[in-house]
Amino acid sequence: MNADNFETVVVETDLLILGGGMAACGAAYEASYWAKKNKQRVCVVDKAAMERSGAVAMGLSAINLYLGVSKGNNTVDEYVSYVKNDLMGIARKDLVANIARHVDSSVHLFEKWGLPIWKDEEGNYVNEGRWQIMIHGESYKSIVSEAAKSALKELGEDGTYYERIFITEPVMFDDRCVGAVGFSVRDNKFYVFKAKAVLDVMGGAVHVFRPRSVGEGLGRSWYPPFNSGASTYFTLKAGAEMTCQEVRFVPVRFKDSYGPVGAWFLLFKSKATNAKGEDYMETRAAELENWAPYGTSKPTPANLRNYLMLLELEEGNGPIYMRTDEAIQKLVAEIPDEKEARRKMKELESEAWEDFLDMTVSQALNWASHNIMPEKTPSEISACEPYFISSHSGASGAWVSGPRDLAPGEHHWGYDNMTSVGGLFAAGDASGASSHKFSSGSFTEGRIAGKAAIAFCMDHPEAVEISEEQIAALKEKVLQPLKIFEEHSGYTNDEDVNPNYIKPKMFMFRLQKIMDEYAGGASVGFKTSEALLTKGLEYMQFMKEDAEKLAAGDLNELMRCWENTHRMWQAESHIRTILFREETRWPGYYFRTDHPNMKEDWEAFANCRWDPETGEWEMIKRDIL
């Protein structure tokens, strides 16, 4: 494939939304409305097809963030306390509260747009847990994307969206982000998007760490394999300050297929036990006191629940089981009437299967392949590998401005969700320290950022100039892997084995091996230390050099090259931040063997910034306000 035959397409807009998932749809929905009122243009660029792009592609069985404030169910403050406790004190209250005060509106819109939400006999939503409501969510993403597209359509020719464009680099003008470049994965076109404001909503990062399954099952990551660190790379390369890059998320899920456990724990009241049938949350309750005040608060933070389970495994008490059989039998036993009990059993069975079929079909297939009937047989659960996802119980992302009316002093700098770089906004998995947004909160944060970004466009009406030289340099850089392949592939008899370059797949495996073995991956029980991290960082420098020799034989491989470069930057910021925070605060996510306890002086944010001018990393400790 000849890298010289690429047409350059220049697209001009006012607000550029990068991504196609829930946050991008929320942003497109909200921004279109304010753009129309203020005569601004909005353009969305998605690497996939919006109908099924992002983490909600497969569907969901629950909406994990709904407060029901108008019904008097919960308050915003209660939610903020819950999130802060779950993250061991490390959360931006202003950001969490901003999402929480708007999220009910988003959920009510989803319902009107056509999302079936479970209702009880009085017509109220059926709660799974305190903050979670049950949905028939197979088409959740299709519905939300239709609303986003309809909203864009209201802008006429000023509202556009591009699918199958992979975004690689930010475009900078002085200290401001004024666009992005990327390429089509369908035909030989290099794209330059010029904008007044740019919103980064490209999801979290998967496959940075070596997964537990490395054969075909490599693709069965808990969070989707196509979320490859583009968000973090984009904000880092623009020179934005990042936060919580150490706060990875290690979910505990049904083993291997990673089916959800939320409905089992919360809706069906199931227990998890070790192989001997002991409930480790009870037998190991004393351990939680070592992590007070968070460990002794209810509900127990996700990472500590993980930790107690990991201690069981270390002592050889595995496998760990979700006692689905006992839970179902108990629910049915509560019904004295035999006929009614049979009906209830049928209903529970359907609900249990729908939970998987709505959002992790592979887990249903796993049960079918193993002849598992949940009402008769317990199922194994396990800790997955680490993920970067600030919309769940992780927190990594860009450091963004809070809202004027909620953010204390230095947490507000003019526009909601703007990063430390002018004109560059972030939301969903791209913004940090505002965990537990989930699907509805990500959509909502996209809305908040979308509106604020239109306000930025109005305040900065000057036309954006990007020089031809800048475009040419970016184009050469982005297409370089094609050129390298073209130049050298004829040298050997196997295009994958060549001393002059490295293919993206092996590059990814090398990154995963480093991260797993040195940065506390699944195979080492999530343990690491300064010595290991320093060694890992040393190997990472070789990777950064070899990244310049990534080679791509076609457009699909070109995308894989860049995905893995993105992952590598996510990885480096992670290692540097774990090193910086000299304590262990989330023992079920990672454990610093050289600093095994939580320390009071680290009740703070660990931030970092890569300086585009010098190429140096700066580590910044910031107070929790």
Binding site: Y29, S32, Y33, W34, K47, A48, A49, R52, G54, A57, M58, R101, H102, D104, S105, H108, L109, K112, W113, G114, L115, P116, H136, E138, S139, S142, I143, E146, A147, S150, S213, G215, E216, G217, G219, R220, P225, F226, D256, S257, S350, W353, L357, D358, V361, S362, A364, L365, N366, W367, A368, S369, H370, N371, D416, R447, A455, M458, N556, M559
Partner: protein
Amino acid sequence: MPSFVINEKCDGCKAQDRTACQYICPNDLMVLDKETNKAYNRAVDMCWECYSCVKICPTQAIEIRGYADFMPLGGVVQPLRSSDSIMWAVRFRNKVVKRFKFPIRTTAEGSIDPDAGFTTGTDDLKSPVLRTEPDSL
């Protein structure tokens, strides 16, 4: 192989302007082989088993064979998706079959009104009030 294409059933979406599976795959895995006019999954170990291709295929030519590194052979989970509901057939390795049907949407496809009948309480771009608020709260 996670998703696979049944040769006999795939017609390369010849009646459409693009192949459905290629259009929908969130990881850009489905490709049309121009010589055979059949689609295929080009990187099965990058497949999430999200079933987007299975659900959209107009000739039901795509199925999923569970990841061979941890799933025994014989299990099949196959959906049939309509505009308002989805039917699932789950066949166990021991041949037991279970069927489920769930609603997926309460409105007609393409009918969404973004404001959903709510009104927005302000025109102020700098206020924290979002589109449809406070009505929709």
